[in-house]
């Protein structure tokens, strides 16, 4: 297994500002990616809060998880450290497992009755 070469062997110099990412010759700022991630997370939060259909709520949770993944990958690129990408892969796995179990529960509930509003599922409110 060939180790990646150390810094300084013909690599381009670091940009002046730490948040600047040099991508394909153009300079993008890491905060743009973080802002996009924040907007997507906020949209997902709106969906979870205002939508009534349990299926759509699951979809919005997936959207929020995707936004978090974008943050992880952005910081991974900014720090030039692969740990963020590995963590993004883990969270992707968790999201897949969550979707499977959530949809399983949903199908099980829909067998008993038609649910059009999550507020109808309030038998456990104590």
């Amino acid at each position: 297994m060939a180790r990646p070469p150390a810094w300084g062997e013909g690599l381009p110099p670091l940009p002046d500002k730490l948040s600047t990412l040099n991508i394909g010759g153009s300079e993008l700022d890491a905060s743009w990616f973080l802002l996009l991630s924040a907007v997507l997370f906020g949209l997902g939060a709106v969906g979870v809060l205002v939508r009534r259909n349990p299926l759509v709520i699951l979809i919005c949770i997936e959207l929020m998880l995707n936004a978090v993944n974008l943050t992880l990958v952005t910081f991974s690129r900014q720090l030039q450290n692969l740990d963020g990408q590995l963590f993004a892969l883990m969270s992707l796995t968790v999201a897949a497992a969550e979707a499977v179990v959530g949809l399983g529960i949903l199908v099980d509930i829909f067998r008993l009755r038609e649910v059009e509003d999550v507020d109808e599922l309030s038998e456990l409110h104590g």
Binding site: S19, V39, L55, N66, L82, L89, L92, R113, E123
Partner: protein
């Protein structure tokens, strides 16, 4: 060039996110989410996360979204009926999200970027470098992930099997799966 790609992908992602929230039919929400995931995978590619890009397309836009579409096709087109039981929920959630976005904006102003580790970006994020991290430093989390997937698969099978006391049309006693059944005829979908 990269800047144009970023802004196009970001615009597509935000429009798709608005579509996820705004469409009234769940199937359109799912298709909007597929759009968001494809746009995000383009952005992952910009951030030189090639392996995450491939996994995002295969696992998310492929497998998970097909699962969602399958469940929607199974359950039929459920439409939402107007307002729920909680009053002022829309306004309260709007206030909450505005506060949340303000908080995140404030945090973005104060991010202390660290000096980056100095690695060769030509091999950054390739399958090889990901695998080295996944099988050396993060071996135990990786194995725990496989355990998690196993548990999720078993749970999904347990939740979605056919109940025998449900077969003659009457609803089961409770929400939980009935105990003590299994075996017998193989499960057939109704």
């Amino acid at each position: 060039m990269a800047i144009a790609v970023f802004f196009v992908a970001a615009a597509v992602a935000v429009l798709g996110g608005i579509g996820v929230v705004a469409f009234h039919q769940p199937i359109r929400s799912v298709l909007s989410l597929v759009l968001v995931m494809l746009a995000l995978s383009v952005i992952f590619l910009l951030l030189s996360a090639q392996f995450v890009f491939a996994v995002q397309i295969i696992v998310y836009a492929g497998a998970v979204m097909v699962l969602f579409l399958f469940v929607i096709a199974l359950l039929g087109p459920a439409r939402e009926l107007g307002r729920g039981r909680l009053r002022y929920q829309g306004w309260a959630s709007a206030v909450f999200v505005v506060v949340l976005l303000g908080l995140m904006w404030t945090m973005l102003q104060g991010v202390q970027y660290r000096q980056p580790d100095q690695t060769n970006l030509d091999v950054f994020g390739t399958v090889q470098s990901i695998a080295v991290g996944l099988f050396t430093t993060y071996l135990y989390p990786f194995e725990l992930t496989s355990l998690l997937l196993l548990v999720a698969a078993i749970g999904a099978i347990y939740l979605s099997r056919k109940r025998i006391d449900d077969a003659d049309g009457g609803p089961a006693d409770g929400l939980g799966p009935a105990a003590g059944v299994g075996g017998g005829s193989p499960p057939t979908s109704r």
